[in-house]
């Protein structure tokens, strides 16, 4: 058994050497957590969108469908910001009912199976649906955030935005990688 442990010492030495090497390894200073950047994308989209119906709600509600990191990130990064002088409120939705209260609903990739029901409700209630799964703009998402190598990009679907009663500024179309 002693011999066995003698040969397993690399298990201790290996992590130690990795730490040592990583100290000299160039640090990528600008690298951010994906969900943090996505949260800031969502906030920035509000600057380029105009909702037809003036909401009676005192707050600008951004919903996240079911529990995900995104709710935390939005809470951290956008909670004290305003859209059209209305303070932003981040809510986690446990069901479809509260979608109508939102201006934006974000559907995390892990709940994408529920997309069709969410879209049907959102469309009738002037709500912008944002997704993060490959090919979703083609399937009816208003804005789809995707990853291209180390950066995030987004696609927009003008027909879906128009159907939802949301006007889109030209600058946003120019920044999108694909416009449907």
């Amino acid at each position: 058994m002693r011999t066995f442990f003698k040969y397993l010492w690399p298990l201790i030495c290996f992590p130690a050497s990795i730490f040592a090497i990583s100290v000299f390894y160039p640090v990528k200073g600008g690298e951010m957590k994906e969900s943090t950047v996505k949260a800031m994308f969502i906030y920035n989209f509000t600057k380029y969108l105009e909702w037809d119906k003036e909401s009676a709600e005192e707050k600008f509600v951004i919903g996240v469908y079911r529990y995900s990191d995104m709710a935390d990130e939005l809470m951290l990064n956008c909670n004290q910001k305003k859209v059209n002088d209305k303070p932003i409120e981040i809510v986690t939705l446990s069901n479809y009912q509260a979608i109508s209260k939102c201006k934006i609903i974000f559907v995390p990739a892990k709940y994408i199976n529920d997309f069709t029901q969410i879209k049907n409700i959102a469309e009738k209630n002037n709500v912008v649906v944002i997704t993060e799964s490959e090919g979703m703009c083609k399937k009816g998402s208003c804005i789809n955030i995707i990853r291209q190598e180390k950066n995030l990009r987004f696609e927009i679907n003008i027909k879906e935005l128009t159907d939802a009663g949301v006007k889109i500024y030209e600058q946003l179309k120019k920044l999108a990688t694909t416009v449907y």
């Binding site: 201790i12 990528k28 600008g30 957590k33 935390d72 004290q80 009912q97 990853r147 190598e149 180390k150």
Partner: protein, 660 residues
């Protein structure tokens, strides 16, 4: 004095970091969309499974739910979990039972920010008043074996606690609660949290001080002697947890000093109160290194220094022997994650730890006739998840190698499938309990016990607001390691006693709309008459094990009176239980008493920003009808049940301040 200096240094560091933090965060928060398109992002998490697809029977409780239930410590939260129940060990220490089985000693793993909290001498997990509920961000509980991924202390369950961190809370939270019985102050809890985050680093610091009493009734031992717990069952806890993340290097540190002052011993009560202390310092350093989008690995190094079950004061007594052993542990590991696509990912790795126990009183360990003992342990593990249109398949295993006891190999397989409204899980797992330092010292031929658990869960989303899940389980343990106390030699005994285990089912119904929610959980177990371990048996009921009720119900309703005021009534019902209440020394006969079914009702009222913008006030009454929810020893040593707490009123104030 040392603690004061440490807090002083922390405050200085916080002040410095805060200035930096506000600058960095501000610049990121003001980026335009064009600028954001150029920001490089790190690799997303490897697994993309939600709770309905996770290969395990999992309960998740969030900070919002904990706040609404007005919990003071982690045991208040765990009561809500089906199949979980507290039992009493010795020297006033409480531990957990899982699905009718005593799990306190080495079979339930508690992780705080990824650090193992089970002490190393006996692998026990003392609970109550030591982990403040208000500082918890999320608890994820695997009700079932977790050995394949988490190792030898996770045979029956894993409790993964994430404390509040800068990922969710950027600011300061100050929290204080006080509770009282009719005739005594029950507890005083003070917590403070400070956390902040920038693009380059984040930090969070949590400090807790709790003083409490175990109860306010009279405790009567098996010989008929009694004492007043209101005067002689004090608990004192100090805890500090620090998390620092600098450019991907993650450092977690946890210190605690948990002391129980009690006349509670092994069988007969002591003539005066003595303390039993658990003191520890844990540190863990890790860094996730991403080679490309598909492959990453995380090296980890950990250190622990602890004094569990410590008693070393200079009392002039022979009834309570000094016990002062220091354990130091070095732990190292590396885990690799390969995420081939959204359809397949693999996690594998290895870890090694070296534990050294030194008796500070110069007593010798019986297994090696020295004042110190060393235990080396190594393990390799792997788990793959394959998502197909048919179902998700999980295959995992762990091989464990030890310098004292025999090597162990435990596999697990799982199948999960989620449809639009339904989900199904089928899991088969082997698990093991690794003998601890004191186990192997007391019995050098002791071997790891092994469990085989089969679980099936079916869940349905009945409406948009209403969901239900039902799971069945069959847990069977061979070579069960059992403890007994030899009061003649004043020594601990451990042996592989035989087969134990339970089978049963658990069900949860949950409703939630925007303002209100409720939940009700029912759990049932039976031994199926398969147990051969006398220590856990109930002579008059072969279907049950000592201490734990076969039937348990927990229900709660959270009603929002308006956006600022919430009321939550709670009900906990336990079916009949059995415990040893008296002992006849002359005939060596134990008296097993049936403890009737009982219910504990609580009511909690929470107000958010009612009187001041950042101030939450909570008030509640626990055990409104003054039921006696006794804490029973789940094995046949001669500890009489500890009386439950009587009616208790609680007031809690929480002030939070967010950094800009």
């Amino acid at each position: 004095m040392k603690i004061t200096k440490l807090i002083g240094v922390c405050c200085f560091v916080i002040a410095f970091l805060n200035v930096q933090a506000q600058t960095d965060t501000a610049s990121f928060n003001e980026m335009s969309l064009e600028q954001l398109l150029n920001v490089e992002v790190s690799v997303a998490s490897s697994t993309n499974l939600n709770n309905r697809e996770t290969p395990g029977i999992v309960s998740v409780i969030t900070a919002e739910e904990i706040e609404a239930m007005n919990a003071t410590d982690i045991t208040d939260v765990l009561k809500r979990i089906p199949g979980m129940e507290l039992g009493c060990d010795v020297e006033g220490v409480l531990g957990l039972g899982i699905r009718g089985n005593w799990a306190h000693e080495g079979k339930v793993l508690l992780l705080i920010n990824g650090i193992e909290m089970n002490e190393s001498l006996y692998a026990t997990l003392p609970l109550e008043h030591n982990y403040p509920a208000d500082m918890i961000e999320k608890i994820e509980i695997i009700r079932g074996p977790g050995s394949a991924m988490y190792g030898g202390a996770a045979a029956y369950a894993v409790i993964d606690v994430r404390l509040k961190s800068a990922n969710k809370q950027r600011g300061i939270i100050a929290n204080s609660s006080i509770s009282a019985f009719k005739n005594a102050l029950a507890s005083q809890v003070n917590n403070i949290y400070v956390g902040n985050k920038t693009s380059n680093y984040s930090y969070s610091i949590i400090a807790n001080r709790t003083t409490a009493i175990r109860g306010n009734r009279y405790f009567t031992d098996v010989y008929g002697n009694a004492y007043d717990m209101a005067k002689e069952s004090d608990i004192e806890n100090n805890l500090m947890a620090i998390n620092l993340n600098v450019r991907g290097y993650n450092i977690d540190v946890v210190f605690y000093d948990y002391n129980i002052f009690s006349r509670d011993g092994y069988d007969a009560i002591f003539s005066q109160a003595y303390y039993t202390g658990f003191k520890a310092g844990h540190a863990k350093l890790s860094k996730k290194i991403e080679l490309n989008e598909k492959f990453s690995f995380t090296p980890t190094i950990g250190y622990k220094n602890e004094k569990p079950w410590n008693f070393n004061d200079d009392y002039d007594t022979e009834e309570y022997e000094p016990f002062d052993i220091t354990v130091t542990e070095w732990r190292s590991g590396i885990s690799f994650t390969y995420c081939q696509s959204e359809k397949f990912n693999l996690v594998c790795g290895g870890e090694m730890n070296n534990e050294k126990a030194v008796d500070n009183n110069g007593e010798i360990f019986s297994s090696n006739n020295k004042t110190s003992i060393t235990n080396n342990n190594a393990a390799i593990y792997a788990q793959g998840v394959l998502k197909t249109n048919l179902a998700n398949f999980t295959i995992g295993c762990r091989a464990n190698f030890n310098s004292i006891y025999e090597n162990t190999f435990v596999p697990r397989i799982g199948l999960t499938k989620a449809w639009e409204k339904f989900h199904l899980k089928a899991l088969l797992s082997q698990a093991y309990r690794a003998p601890s330092i004191q186990n192997t010292d007391a019995n050098t031929s002791i071997q790891p016990e092994k469990s085989l658990t089969a679980e099936v869960e079916i869940g349905a989303q009945l409406t948009n607001n209403l969901s239900i899940s039902v799971n069945g389980f069959d847990m069977s343990t061979t070579k069960t390691i059992v403890y007994s106390y030899d009061d003649v030699d004043d020594d601990d005994n451990y042996l592989n006693a035989g087969k134990s285990g339970t089978r049963g089912f658990e069900t949860e119904l949950k409703f939630k709309n925007k303002a209100n929610y409720f939940g009700i959980a029912y759990s049932f177990y039976s031994t199926g008459k398969q147990s051969t371990v006398e220590n856990y048996m109930v002579p008059q009921n072969a279907d049950m094990q000592l201490a734990f009720p076969a039937h348990k119900i927990y229900g709660y309703v959270n009603i929002s009176l308006n956006s600022k005021l919430h009321v939550q009534p709670q009900l906990e019902f336990k079916g009949p239980r059995y415990g040893i209440t008296s002992y006849n020394e002359e005939t060596d006969e134990r008296y097993y008493q049936k403890i009737n079914a009982m219910a504990v009702c609580n009511i909690m009222i929470n107000s958010k920003a009612l009187l001041a913008k950042n101030l939450n006030i909570a008030f509640g009454v626990k055990n409104i009808f003054n039921a006696n929810d006794v804490l029973i020893q789940p094995y046949y040593d001669l500890h009489a049940p500890i009386p439950g707490k009587s009616r208790e009123a609680i007031l809690k104030l929480t002030y939070h301040f967010n950094f800009k």
